[in-house]
Symmetry: C2
Subunit: 101 residues, 2 copies
């Protein structure tokens, strides 16, 4: 990739960056990631904690998983999700603090 001091953003960088921010641009995904600040949660655990449908949570987790913002650990039939990108989680934390200061 390399962007160096080139003033133009290449297509790939533009895509990755916009996708990353898009992931944080939805209230449901923010709530999920915010929950994962503390500890890992199962899919149903997230659904119950946030009053969301299992299907909704699963869809959003797939989205976040594709961007490698979350990972999971299997325990029987249960999948325990946790965050997997410190940079993004820090940005989220900062922005939340910034918003409710």
């Amino acid at each position: 990739m390399e962007n160096d001091n080139n003033n133009d953003l290449d297509e790939e960088t533009l895509f990755v960056v916009s996708q990353t921010f898009k992931a944080l641009g939805d209230p449901t995904r923010i709530r999920i990631l915010h929950l994962l600040f503390q500890k890992e949660y199962s899919v149903n655990g997230i659904a119950e904690a946030l009053h969301l449908r299992q299907s909704t949570v699963s869809h959003q987790l797939r989205f976040l998983k594709n961007l490698r913002l979350v990972k999971y650990r299997r325990e029987g039939t249960t999948l325990n999700y946790s965050h997997d990108d410190e940079h993004v989680m820090n940005m989220l934390k900062q922005t939340i603090d910034h918003a409710c200061h």
Copy 2:
């Protein structure tokens, strides 16, 4: 507002945070903000530099202006836009660097 150590995000914080990230979740707006890293630009200046329609730029600038991510300085009939949120610009810069490491 205040979010303190309450584990739940209140509606308003959730809205502000998601709107902020949503602003950075579109390639066109990223390109515009990236251009404004360097110096102020007129609406037509942005349109020419990025090969976008004047109308498109104006719409996106209104979006960014509503979130106070940009401001403008009038010079005759020309409006010179510049960035207006250090926190957001730093996040963008970091994420771009992060993406094209």
